[in-house]
């Protein structure tokens, strides 16, 4: 089911009506509607056969924190009954060990299912034991990476005593299965999302117009930008030959950077909007990433919830672990800066190795993750050198020109990363990177594209995409300057607004049609 479809609109309409109708009688029971809607959505969109995996994940992450809480209580009792300080300490240590064992077992269960379904087949294939990456016929459940990570964050937070664990399994299941997040995230935190799902909402508090505006903005990004480009990108990178001109590669990668952002952030806009219609605000996942001034900054603006998840559950715990602290102490003998940053850099590499694996077990994803990790680590290790260089060259790091320079530089660095993300064969990624510099060959650009099957009309129709990109750019620039763009638009007089909506709708309608038909050259077929 597409998010922009009659079936989703009807689904939303029925769910919203039920939600607010129930709310009239009992706000305390409203969450039941959300759970019913979420499970129904999961069966409608995914395969109902894979629902069991989600239920299993929810059950584990529901039961473990309750067990931990009970262990805490027992520990307290034992300590209260202990005869002396040493006995109290011993009791605490014993229970801490047991608590950790429960945590590890629960983590293994959650990640075990994920790893088996997502990676086992690919791994077998890579070592030559499976005929194809999908030969086992395992059904990858919809949203498994997202709900697993979200549930695990709940588990670890509960382990750390951040909140009282949820006793009601169905309420916990709602947190795990909340339908807007299940397609492509964001990865929410229980402390933020849980209470919102469970407390009642009334229709009059919902920012309907803002939600609709955001839904439309997301649809524009997804249909007028991402879907318009995906075919051409595929044609370019599905037959990489040794003589592929660098100009074609660069074109394809630039299209990919727009497509990737349009698809992911557009989809997120749409689900955030859907969620907010129920009065539930999910975590933000994008903050205009292409305006980042460094790669580290980029990762704080792109897929934000994955970044913060990694920061809180991998980066910090690993970086402050005993071996890393020892490494820092040893490195500080070589220099204070090195001592402070080396543990962070190593932790960072680990994070991006996992981010690469999150996308898939194929070698090119791992390479992509490590590339990001290495660039960020080096930037940090060499920060004093850069600072000295800037001072020596009298660069005014506060100037607007310098900021623009940083934004452009980061954009280029990110795009080099996309080579490894998008080109599905690691060798081809390197080949394309080499040809970008050694065989740019702009004169072969159009011939190569036409041989790859890219119709001239596809290029012409990118004019619509360019208009959509321009709109997104203007909106993003204004948001960067702190302008509440939605508020501005809603403040326009209604005639101007109507005309503006017509333009956006027109763009979506035309591009949505083109993406399904232009590939066959039937844009202007007279039916």
């Amino acid at each position: 089911m597409d998010l922009l479809s009659l079936s989703f609109v009807l689904f939303l309409a029925v769910s919203l009506a039920a939600y607010y109708l129930v709310g009239r009688f009992s706000q305390r029971a409203q969450w039941v509607v959300l759970l019913a809607a979420s499970l129904a959505f999961y069966c409608l969109v995914g395969r109902w056969q894979t629902l069991a995996y989600m239920l299993a994940c929810a059950a584990v992450t529901w039961a473990a924190p309750l067990a931990l809480a009970r262990m805490d209580a027992r520990c307290k009792e034992e300590r209260a009954a202990a005869p002396g300080r040493a006995a109290r300490r011993a009791a605490k240590a014993a229970w801490a060990g047991r608590r950790r064992a429960v945590l590890v077992a629960a983590l293994l269960a959650c990640f075990g299912i994920l790893a088996y379904l997502k990676y086992w087949n690919v791994l077998l294939y890579e070592v030559g034991l499976a005929a194809s990456p999908a030969s086992l016929g395992l059904l990858l459940p919809l949203g498994i990476s997202f709900y697993t990570f979200q549930s695990v964050s709940y588990l670890v937070d509960a382990y750390n005593g951040r909140f009282e664990p949820q006793r009601n399994f169905l309420k916990h299941l709602l947190f795990v299965s909340w339908f807007p997040q299940v397609i492509q995230g964001p990865i929410n935190r229980y402390a933020d999302l849980g209470p919102q799902l469970l407390e009642g909402h009334s229709a009059k508090d919902v920012p309907v117009r803002r939600s609709l505006l955001r839904f439309g903005y997301g649809a524009l990004k997804k249909y007028a930008i991402a879907n318009m480009l995906v075919g051409t990108i595929d044609q370019i990178f599905s037959n990489v030959t040794p003589d592929i001109p660098g100009s074609v590669v660069v074109f394809g990668i630039l299209l990919y950077s727009a497509q990737q952002y349009g698809d992911f952030s557009g989809g997120i806009d749409m689900v955030e909007a859907a969620s907010s219609l129920f009065g539930v605000r999910m975590a933000e996942n994008f903050r205009r990433p292409y305006f980042s001034v460094s790669l580290a900054d980029f990762w704080r603006r792109w897929h934000i919830t994955l970044g913060t998840w990694m920061r809180d559950y991998v980066f910090f715990p690993f970086a402050v672990s005993r071996p890393m602290r020892a490494l820092g102490a040893r490195a500080s003998r070589l220099g204070e800066h090195l001592g402070r940053t080396l543990p962070a850099c190593v932790a960072n590499l680990l994070v991006f190795l996992i981010v690469g694996l999150w996308h898939g077990a194929e070698p090119h994803y791992v390479a992509w993750g490590l590339y990001n990790g290495l660039v960020i680590a080096l930037a940090d290790l060499l920060a004093p050198a850069f600072r000295r260089a800037n001072e020596a060259l009298r660069v005014d790091t506060g100037s607007r020109a310098h900021r623009v320079f940083c934004v452009v530089r980061t954009f280029l660095v990110v795009n080099v990363g996309w080579y490894f993300d998008r080109i599905y064969d690691f060798g081809d990624s390197l080949l394309c990177l080499r040809n970008t510099f050694t065989n740019f060959a702009p004169q072969q650009f159009s011939l190569w594209l036409s041989q790859a099957g890219v119709h001239g009309s596809a290029i012409k129709f990118m004019g619509f995409t360019a208009v959509a990109c321009l709109i997104v750019f203007i909106v993003s620039l204004a948001q960067e300057r702190g302008v509440d763009v939605d508020g501005r638009i809603l403040g326009w007089n209604c005639v101007l607004r109507g005309l503006f909506y017509c333009m956006v709708i027109g763009l979506i309608v035309v591009t949505s049609y083109i993406t399904q038909n232009a590939a066959g050259g039937f844009m202007y077929a007279n039916f």
Partner: protein, 83 residues
């Protein structure tokens, strides 16, 4: 040892890690992304050196690092717990 645990000392430590920040008044150091995660690790490492106390992963939450005062409170609590 406790004599060292003053706000001034904490601010001095923070300025060593990252200058040009109004540590005396800012209470949204993490929320407003003044400090990034690398900075926070540097701060933790400095706290370890200066106050001889290690900050466990579970205490690395925005609330504990949003202001100099919050960091100071956290350090005091950790010192108490260790003692």
């Amino acid at each position: 040892m406790d004599d060292d645990l003053t706000l001034d000392h904490m601010i001095e430590l923070l300025e060593d890690v990252k200058g040009n920040v109004d540590y005396e008044n800012c209470t949204t150091l993490v929320d407003d992304r003044v400090l990034d995660s690398f900075d926070i690790l540097s701060i933790i490492s400095s706290i370890n050196d200066e106050f001889d106390v290690s900050v466990p992963a579970k205490d690395i939450v925005p609330d504990n690092f949003n202001s100099a005062q919050a960091m100071l409170d956290m350090v005091k609590r950790l010192v108490d717990e260790e003692g």
